[in-house]
Amino acid sequence: MSEFHLYMAQRLSALVMAPFVVVHIGVMIYAIQGGLSAAEILGRTQGSAFWFVFYGLFVVAVSIHAAIGLRTILGEWAGLRGGQRDVISALIGLGLLLLGAQAVWAVTA
């Protein structure tokens, strides 16, 4: 993947994340009024196709966006070059995807 394609992937994933972040924070502030227990949260999210798709796409966008951004930081701040930098940032993206997917599955399945 070229530098330009990474650039576009990072911008497009940011575009996808923007409404997710707003809805995520908005719902949190709204739902937490008067206290909220884990059981109440799971009661709303488990079995919900909407929240599965919502947080599923959110996790995919975060993994792409963060991995590309960290790849740049690894190059400019840590001085990593070439394949080493690509492999490390790909592993970071994969790790974020696995952790996030596991969390989404745990609260919505």
Partner: protein
């Protein structure tokens, strides 16, 4: 301004063949004096082995840029009174470029990137054709005009923190040159320009920190030129054409 007889000028000496070290000179102070005047006084009166570079002395040739008190400047147009820190000035070779000796930086990487950014003319006509008429008020022409007064002094390249962190980055001057050609009605190969600025170290490496525009001695705006290239490449990606 208080009266003073002398300036304390610290110059970075050395290069690949000699260790880098600061050397301090006492230089006579005058009412009207540029940083280049000060450096020339040292070379002519104190130490003839001091190496530096200049040509036109009027801000046209782009030869005399140096770091002055840690900031890249065109020294022939920088008045001493504007940059004096107490009664002292520190002068060094341009940042982000290899040092040849003392105050002379090796400009090769800067000009190599100029070429790598496809900063060259791709003609639309031959010498046998009539000269193309250019509309001076067209939007594209205005975009190009905004960047063509670059004197290749490398002040923006030295000011750029992205160049410092990423040696592959083409830098503001080369990318601005590419942008002026992209907007030139007489340039026949815009795709070649966009391809050249989309590769490793291309315009997408820019973090929009804006030091290029802040320090350009000709008050040009490479930051906006680079933003223009980013927009043009994104537009092309989605199938948009100029």
């Amino acid at each position: 301004m208080p009266e003073r007889d002398h300036l304390t000028v610290t110059v970075q000496r050395g290069g690949p063949d000699a260790p880098l070290r600061p050397q301090t000179f006492e230089v006579p102070a005058y009412d009207n004096q540029t940083v280049l005047d000060v450096v020339s006084w040292i070379q002519q009166n104190a130490d003839p082995t001091l190496t530096y570079r200049f040509a036109c002395r009027v801000g046209m040739c782009g030869s005399c840029a140096m770091m002055v008190n840690g900031v890249p400047r065109w020294t022939c147009r920088t008045h001493v009174s504007k940059v004096l820190d107490g009664n002292a000035i520190e002068v060094g070779p341009l940042r982000n470029l290899p040092v040849i000796k003392d105050l002379a930086a090796d400009m090769d990487p800067f000009f190599d990137k100029w070429v790598a950014a496809e900063g060259m003319h791709h003609p639309t006509r031959t010498r046998d054709d009539a000269i193309e008429a250019i509309d001076p008020v067209a939007m594209e022409r205005q975009e190009a005009n905004a960047g063509i007064e670059c004197i290749n002094c490398s002040v923006c390249y030295s000011a750029c923190d992205t160049v410092a962190g990423n040696p592959d980055y083409l830098g503001p001057a080369a990318l601005q040159r590419a942008w002026t050609l992209y907007n030139d009605a007489k340039d026949a190969d815009r795709d070649a320009i966009l391809d050249a600025v989309s590769g490793k170290g291309g315009c997408h490496s820019c973090h929009s920190m804006g030091s290029c525009t802040a320090y350009c001695p000709n008050e040009l705006d490479p930051l906006s030129a680079i933003a223009g290239l980013k927009r043009a490449t994104a537009k092309r990606f989605f199938g948009g054409r100029k």
